[in-house]
């Protein structure tokens, strides 16, 4: 029997607004959250492309001051988080607005964690290890792939051990995500393709995860459908807002799915690669995950996975075969996140 059908499952998601110019609502929502001086976390490319300007203006219109922090490299480093937290405190910031891809978003989450708890970022590794909630966080994603704008994950590079660590907690789900397709218009072909494949990997890993549920399946399957249809179009026509909107929607659904169902071997292996960009890794890894990809693989048997069966009847280029539901066994103790605790989707 399908063990997920009657097990307790929880679904955590932030408030989000998706649509053209959603980013310009940053000021209004920051005000709603009580912000007086926000740290705007971003990356140099996003800033140069002009996507930060309107956000900062919207803060100003609500009388909210800001400090821009753009000292974030691809794959945010522990030292960058610590530096950001220092500046956050020095400038009297009380909230974070992040405009960027997965790296600035993860860095922003890290800054909030360190500021509230006053400890080194690497001490929060694992699941539910954040005692005090971080300050309000508004996320404006500028890639369609990360999912960090809605997820309870933050991935930080441990520069000492040269690996990426995962910090997983409901406390780092943003307060609001403003999901705007417009910033995608300046994304290169290569980044569009790689981040899109990251979104696809999120959906697939969430769908085959042991912690999946009917709710996460719904988002995962729909995301696979959307990304499969629209990512090639977006890569072909980079300036077409409709394709960009669809890939953003696919990324949002993928984020909601994996944030609640978690991931699998592909991301575990990508994290181990440390400073190699995760999206590049994800894009070379589909053949490595433990499911079978095939255009001829039959859908899950009727009754074992209602949502899979239903969706499999829809036209799609790919179907997939799950791992045996009962084949997962807890890993031996490893001194990291408690596997049994992690495996329980209702922890925290």
């Amino acid at each position: 029997m399908d063990r997920s059908r009657f097990e307790l499952r929880k679904f955590v998601a932030p408030e989000f607004i998706i649509g053209e110019k959603a980013r310009l609502l940053a000021g209004r929502y920051a005000k709603n959250l009580g912000a007086r001086h926000a740290m705007v976390v971003t990356g140099p490319h996003v800033e140069k492309a002009g996507w930060v300007e309107g956000v900062v203006k919207s803060l100003g219109e609500e009388g909210i001051g800001h400090t821009v922090f753009d000292g974030v490299s691809p794959n945010p480093r522990d030292s960058e988080v610590m530096n950001g937290a220092k500046i956050f405190a020095e400038d009297g910031c009380d909230s974070i607005v992040v405009v960027g891809g997965g790296s600035p978003i993860d860095c922003a989450k890290g800054i909030g964690i360190v500021f509230s708890n006053n400890r080194h970022i690497l001490t929060f590794e694992g699941v539910d290890n954040i005692p005090i909630p971080p300050p309000p966080l508004i996320c404006i994603p500028t890639t369609a792939g990360t999912g960090a704008d809605v997820s309870q994950f933050a991935i930080i590079s441990d520069t000492g051990r040269k690996v990426k660590i995962a910090i997983i907690s409901k406390k780092i789900v943003p307060d609001i995500a403003l999901v705007d397709p417009e910033p995608l218009l300046t994304l290169s072909k290569e980044l569009t393709a790689h981040t899109g494949m990251d979104a696809l990997t999120h959906s697939v890993e969430a769908y085959v995860s042991n912690a999946s549920s009917p709710v996460t399946d719904m988002y995962a399957l729909e995301s696979i459908q959307i990304v499969n249809t629209y990512l090639p179009r977006a890569v072909e026509e980079l300036k077409k807002l409709e394709w960009r909107y669809q890939t953003m929607l696919g990324s949002l659904f993928a984020g909601l799915a994996f944030s609640n169902a978690s991931l699998g071997a592909v991301h575990a292996m990508a994290h181990s690669l440390g400073d190699s960009p995760i999206f590049r890794m994800a894009s070379v890894m589909p053949s490595c995950s433990s499911m079978s990809w095939s255009s001829t693989t039959p859908p899950a048997p009727a009754g074992t996975r209602p949502s899979a069966g239903r969706s499999a009847s829809r036209p799609r280029a790919w179907t997939m075969k799950r791992g045996e539901p009962g084949s997962w066994e807890p890993l031996p103790p490893c001194g990291r996140a408690s596997v049994s605790r992690y495996g329980s989707p209702i922890s925290g």
């Binding site: 393709a193 085959v208 890894m285 490893c334 990291r336």
Partner: protein, 54 residues
Amino acid sequence: MRESLGITVRLSDLGVSRSDIPALARTAILDPCLATNPRKASVEEIERMYLNAF
């Protein structure tokens, strides 16, 4: 799909060498993401998957 999007990069293109793979696999097996993988993977299996992407 990967190829149709022009993504052809392999691990070897990212500066990873074959001798790095055992250490990568030993780290990967400790990653929390592996806890929810549908099949339990051994270090050897993870090494093989890295080799597939090499």
